[in-house]
């Protein structure tokens, strides 16, 4: 499933990385502790978080994630937006809380185990 499909089906806003929506999503991960996300996420993940610090882009890029999804109406820091564009990481937002976003991702067939 492509990032583009999730943007449409979950009604997400694309804040940056709009030219990378063809990336394939192969699983999902949730976390706000970047040390944990670095240890346990994997490539192709859509990552649901409320962490908005610029370091999230470096983590997503390092782990070759498909997209970052900021939950709960969190807005990315300006520096985070800039880095997301530079690194070509789709940065998506939603007013929905993380739990609800994960439920909807599961409905779309995204799994937390791979």
């Amino acid at each position: 499933m492509k990032v583009e499909w999730l943007v449409k089906s979950l009604g997400l806003e694309v804040k940056a990385g709009g030219n990378q929506l063809h990336q394939e999503v192969t699983g999902g991960y949730v976390g706000d502790l970047l040390s944990d996300v670095m240890a346990h996420s994997t490539s192709g993940n859509v990552w649901v978080t409320i962490q908005t610090h610029p370091n999230i882009i470096a983590v997503a890029s390092l782990k070759e994630m498909a997209a970052i999804l900021l939950a709960g109406g969190r807005e990315p820091d300006p520096e985070t937006l800039k880095k997301a564009e530079e690194e070509g990481i789709p940065l998506l937002t939603s007013p929905l809380p993380a739990f609800e976003l994960v439920r909807r991702l599961c409905q779309e067939g995204i799994s937390g185990i791979w």
């Binding site: 502790l33 970047l34 040390s35 944990d36 610090h53 370091n55 820091d77």
Partner: protein
């Protein structure tokens, strides 16, 4: 003349909701002197309202007490800050208070006791000191540096509330004076684990929340005077000051 001083610069008082109510000036100063510390710092969560009482109590016994605060950033990172003048610490506190939402729930988080230099309780702080400020990490670091304070990332070896736990790695362009290692990790292990950050000074402080924890680990500094200004020099190995292996 340079001398070697043993310092534990991360001690909570009874003002921190998680701090023992025994952490009053007399008990802290007595314990610090008993375990052979030359200098301490009082660093409560997001407040410095008890520091003057501890400084005065320290003066009476001849123990150097620095004013400080452990500030929680928006990313829930703990930052240890140290000053020479209580007024500078107060300036930081005023700014922190403007960006610290919430009210303490004593039953859930614990009491936040204000004391005088004679260790008598004189009131309670009502703010949610255990909470996070709305201030980004980088802004706090810049603010403290502008006040000529010392800023050290707290207990980087811990998962919870640490710079590396929360953000995975130290962001570029941030001017920290040092990295604190908690008592649960030896400095030797920390140097291996965080070898990427060897350009920064590593310090070992107790993060004491009760009297018996004071000085359980400490750091030796080569200084002329027991001031935060000299601690800063030592952390950057300047002016002949240094952090020495204990």
């Amino acid at each position: 003349m340079l001398r070697r001083f043993r310092a534990d610069l991360h001690i909570h008082s009874c003002l921190s909701p998680c701090g023992s109510d025994e952490m009053k000036p007399k008990a802290v100063v007595d314990r610090a002197m008993t375990v052979g510390l030359d200098m301490i710092a009082i660093c409560d969560h997001n407040s410095a309202e008890n520091v003057v009482a501890f400084i005065e109590a320290g003066k009476k016994k001849g123990l150097a007490v620095l004013p400080g605060m452990e500030v929680t950033s928006r990313e829930e990172i703990h930052l240890l800050t140290l000053f020479d003048q209580p007024e500078d610490c107060q300036t930081l506190q005023d700014w922190v208070y403007q960006h610290l939402p919430g009210k303490n729930e004593q039953e859930a988080f614990g009491p936040q006791i204000l004391v005088n230099e004679d260790s008598e309780p004189i009131g309670q702080n009502e703010k949610l000191l255990i909470g996070a400020t709305l201030l980004p990490l980088e802004e706090i670091v810049s603010y403290v540096q502008a006040l000529n304070g010392v800023v050290i990332a707290s207990h980087i070896d811990r998962q919870a509330f640490s710079l590396i736990g929360q953000l995975g790695f130290i962001p570029e362009g941030i001017s920290l004076d040092g990295l604190e290692i908690s008592p649960r990790t030896s400095l030797e292990e920390a140097r291996k684990k965080f070898s990427l950050y060897q350009h920064l000074a590593f310090v070992h402080f107790s993060d004491a929340h009760s009297p018996e924890e004071i000085g359980r680990v400490s750091t030796h500094f080569q200084l002329e005077e027991k001031t935060s200004k000299e601690i800063k020099w030592a952390l950057h190995a300047r002016e002949g000051r240094s952090v020495t292996e204990s």
